[in-house]
């Protein structure tokens, strides 16, 4: 049997020590009417047979075409050293660092991750990560509910719609009111956001760039929130954050992000990681694991899980969150990605992708009936209005090996003719030309 070491003789010796005749005797406590019939599962297969089966399934997925699909989740180049280091079993076959003395590798890596995330968004501290960006958004909202002791959230409609759907599910049984403030042609309606923030709301939640790729400055809204003793929460895109005005500079209280763009493969939706950073005064309301620096009995520097009095294993029903694990290996990959790219690598990636997006806009808006959806500044993703339904165009272009982007009508009513197009460093000018030619033939 695979992965089981005992020989039949050893099994007999062990049964004799225990004082039973057969392994089956050890299961005698299972109530008789609850015993399982024999499982109707396939027979075990060889390693190579399982690999062949999954290789065949993997080959059925189309990943070789040209793609401008982003919508919050981006194909980026990942240095191979990320795979090599995160692929060390010293990291991936360990568990949560409960025993600090034999887990300094994991603990120090998380401390460095917390530092890198804090510096990226210019807030005081970060936690060790949560499951994904949507979870981070919900957990940040719950931090605000506890801190402000209020139950209303003001949410910009231009925040990632997949996460807003999660927020609705997670708050459904919690007596929390969500006031969604509509966007206009993909631009966040800052006047309406200002008007919606009052002394009854726990937080205002925005995103930069927003889901439509629009870059903005939310400082006035966070100032208004502060005046109302509400929190300012912002979701960011880590790659572009290397050049964009930071949550710290804008006066946000909590920043969250989907960390996928930092060293994680797209992998059909996961595993990813949610980044969370906040001002120091809010840290005791953080969910999940946090690592702190300390000293040992000889005064030597070391790292430990800290502020555990917030957590479920101690506080149970009164914990800040039910989250037990963090996404340690994903956090390690994000840290390695940032350490290898460095500030210049991350900034040049952002600038390259913004420039390529501008080239795509130039090429596509030259086509008949294609225009920018709005005139707001944008980053590396942009909303384009088309002369026909975007979903129709996407289907037709895919048949020619080019995926032009995300048809926004899928998540925003009334935007059936709008395409969300993203460029990253995996695209180049030649691909954009090919996109323009393909769309030119279809319009």
């Amino acid at each position: 049997m695979p992965y089981i070491p005992h020989t039949p003789d050893e099994v007999q010796e062990m049964l004799a020590v225990i004082g039973v005749r057969s392994v089956e005797d050890l299961f005698a406590d299972i109530p008789a009417n609850m015993r399982s019939r024999q499982l109707d599962l396939p027979k075990g297969r060889s390693e190579s047979a399982v690999c062949a089966h999954l290789e065949q399934l993997a080959a059925q997925n189309r990943v070789d075409g040209i793609s401008f699909l982003g919508a919050g989740y981006y194909a980026h180049d990942i240095p191979k050293a990320v795979d090599a280091l995160a692929g060390r079993s010293e990291f991936y076959t360990a568990y949560t660092p409960y025993q600090a003395e034999c887990s300094q590798g994991t603990l120090q890596a998380i401390f460095e991750f917390q530092t890198a995330v804090s510096r990226l968004v210019e807030l005081d501290c970060a936690n060790a990560s949560v499951y994904d960006g949507g979870t981070a958004l919900f957990e940040a909202a719950m931090m605000a509910v506890r801190i402000a002791k209020r139950r209303t959230l003001v949410v910009d409609e231009a925040v990632n719609p997949f996460w807003r759907a999660m927020l609705a599910t997670y708050t459904a049984n919690l007596d929390i009111e969500i006031r969604t403030v509509g966007q206009r042609d993909g631009v966040s309606d800052k006047d309406a956001l200002m008007a919606a923030v009052d002394e009854h709301c726990a937080a205002v939640i925005v995103q930069n760039p927003n889901f439509f790729g629009v870059v903005d400055d939310y400082s006035p809204i966070f100032e208004r929130a502060r005046g109302c003793k509400a929190l300012g929460i912002i979701s960011v895109y880590p790659v572009l954050q290397s050049v964009l005005k930071t949550p710290g500079e804008m006066g946000a209280d909590v920043a969250v992000a989907e960390g996928q763009s930092l060293g994680q493969p797209l992998s059909f939706g996961g595993p990813y990681l949610g980044l969370m950073a906040c001002r120091k005064e809010h840290v005791r309301q953080f969910p999940g694991r946090i690592v702190g620096r300390s000293t040992d009995v000889e005064g030597k520097t070391g790292y430990v899980l800290t502020l555990q009095a917030r957590e479920q294993h101690i506080r149970r029903a009164k914990a800040t969150s039910n989250i037990c694990s963090n996404q340690a290996l994903c956090a390690l990959r994000a840290l390695l990605h940032m350490a290898l790219l460095g500030p210049e690598g991350l900034m040049r990636t952002a600038e390259n992708n913004m420039a390529l997006t501008r080239y795509a806009v130039k090429r596509l808006t030259a086509l008949p009936g294609v225009s920018l959806c709005n005139s707001a500044p944008y980053g590396s993703e942009v909303a384009l209005r088309l002369p026909l339904p975007a979903a129709t165009l996407v289907q037709a272009a895919m048949a020619q090996g080019v995926l032009p982007g995300y048809p926004l009508g899928k998540t925003y009513a009334g935007m059936e003719h709008v395409l969300l197009l993203s460029c990253t460093e995996v695209n180049d000018h030649g691909q954009v030309d090919r996109l323009a030619e393909t769309l030119g033939g279809l319009l």
Partner: protein
């Protein structure tokens, strides 16, 4: 050891972007840009490789150390599983592609469908959602489904019964889903059916359900389960199965047949996917017939022509628990594991997990204080540090000997608790050397307790000051 930030040299680079792009200042107004570049490390590739290679060497891990961390199922993670998850056809697949054109992601949808069928047969449940991204996320999903069930019947049920020995995530998840938790006291190391009956009598129509871990966190099978199921059924309350201890019952008990309505599995425990230093995991949730209409969206369906499609049309669904289809990269590994072992192999895994735990328990009977000694344990057991010794000291002394400590101080109802879970992949020789180490440590503790307080002395650090870490809060390089 210094941090990677200390190794930073201004202007040093590991990664270059060959781009003619202008700077951000030429593309966006200055008011939208950050004033200073992010203070990330500036290192060569070798700087980074050497730093993290050295850091990795400061970890105990399953590939080098016996890691009998109770409740966490630290079994060996077969290497081929890493290979299949990294296949480009999976790793490069954008999650939204399946929603734009299902034909472009048939292989991935097939993976989701196939593992769902296998999990249903293994557990006796009717359907699974793979969306929950970890065990606790699965718990939240499960209790949210329970809330939806009662709500659909037009009733307000706000009480969740939870045994005192439960994992802390149970009450935290129930509370997050809006439930009030009522604690059930254990008797003889098990859920007391009379306490359940009493709670049902007292709260009756307000009881939404009971969350059970079975075998429980003391490593004991719940022999009174049929009575408990009956008491809950009488008021149409639902029974939740916490799959943390699933590694004890594969092929021996199907939770669906036993009367559970909802179950979460921890694939990183039961199906050998790596724990990753704390994640990522995955927490699929299975349901009985009653809860089918409430499952999260989207679902995967096999169409008449044999192709797979995503279904979004389910008016009673609780909605979206994750952005897409769960921790897909982890789910592939779990599928590979299940296919490799087959039904017989999974059954054998549970048999040997239980065999190893009982062997270890028996051999430690004269070393540690073991409650419920007269009973067989499941895949793990609890013990108390003997003779006034502290569980913490024993744990640290084990580290000194190259062995990861068992879980300590959980469950809370056991004095100076140590909870070893050997798993099926460990050999008799490893178990014997653990027993010998434990015997040496306890002998040392009896004659020279100071020596135990000192441990560990040969690891990268000695015992750390956790109190001052919480008080002074140095959480980044910039806080001090």
């Amino acid at each position: 050891m210094n941090t990677i930030f200390a190794a930073s040299v201004p202007g040093r680079r590991a990664w270059t972007v060959n781009s003619q792009a202008p700077r951000a200042t030429d593309m966006l107004p200055a008011g939208l840009l950050r004033a200073n570049p992010p203070r990330l490390p500036q290192c060569s590739e070798l700087d980074v490789v050497r730093h993290y290679t050295r850091l990795s060497q400061m970890n105990y891990h399953v590939d080098a150390n016996f890691y009998p961390l109770g409740s966490c199922t630290m079994k060996y993670n077969p290497k081929f599983m890493e290979y299949v998850a990294q296949l480009p056809g999976f790793a490069r697949l954008h999650p939204l592609l399946a929603q734009l054109d299902g034909r472009a992601a048939q292989g991935a949808l097939h993976v989701l469908y196939e593992i769902e069928q296998l999990l249903c047969e293994l557990t006796g449940m009717k359907a699974f959602t793979l969306q929950p991204m970890a065990g606790a996320n699965g718990e939240f999903t499960g209790v949210t489904l329970m809330a939806a069930y009662h709500k659909a019947k037009g009733r307000q049920r706000n009480i969740m019964l939870i045994p005192d020995a439960a994992h802390g995530t149970n009450p935290a998840s129930a509370s997050l889903a809006g439930f009030t938790v009522v604690n059930l006291e254990s008797r003889d190391g098990m859920v007391n059916p009379e306490a359940v009956a009493k709670a049902v009598q007292e709260h009756g129509e307000q009881v939404a359900g009971l969350m059970m871990t079975c075998p429980n966190t003391l490593g004991l099978m719940e022999t009174q389960l049929p009575r408990i199921v009956e008491a809950l059924r009488a008021v149409d309350a639902l029974l939740y199965y916490d799959g943390a201890n699933m590694n004890a019952i594969m092929g021996k008990m199907r939770v669906g047949d036993a009367g559970f309505d909802v179950v979460h599995l921890n694939v990183h425990k039961t199906f050998g996917t790596p724990h990753g230093g704390g994640g990522p995991g995955a927490g699929p949730v299975g349901v009985s017939e009653k809860l089918l209409p409430f499952l999260p969206l989207p679902r995967v369906r096999r169409m008449e022509d044999g192709t797979f499609a995503l279904i979004e049309d389910a008016p009673q669904s609780v909605g979206h628990i994750g952005p897409f289809y769960g921790s897909f990269g982890v789910i592939i590994k779990a599928l590979a594991y299940i296919l490799r072992l087959g039904g017989e192999g999974l059954t054998r895994a549970s048999e040997h997990a239980v065999l190893n735990a009982n062997y270890l328990k028996k051999r430690l009977e004269d070393v540690l204080e073991i409650p419920f000694k007269e009973r067989h344990c499941a895949h793990e057991f609890v013990a108390s540090a003997p003779d006034g010794l502290r569980a913490l000291d024993i744990a640290k002394a084990l580290l000194e000997r190259g062995i990861h400590a068992p879980t300590v101080y959980f469950p809370l109802i056991v004095h100076e608790c140590l909870m070893p879970e050997p798993t099926e992949t460990e050999s008799k020789q490893t178990l014997d050397s653990f027993v010998q180490a434990m015997r040496d440590i306890v002998d040392t503790g009896r004659t020279n307790p100071e020596a135990l307080h000192e441990a560990p002395t040969r690891l990268p650090v000695r015992r750390l000051d956790e109190t001052s870490a919480a008080r002074h809060m140095v959480l980044t390089e910039d806080m001090s």
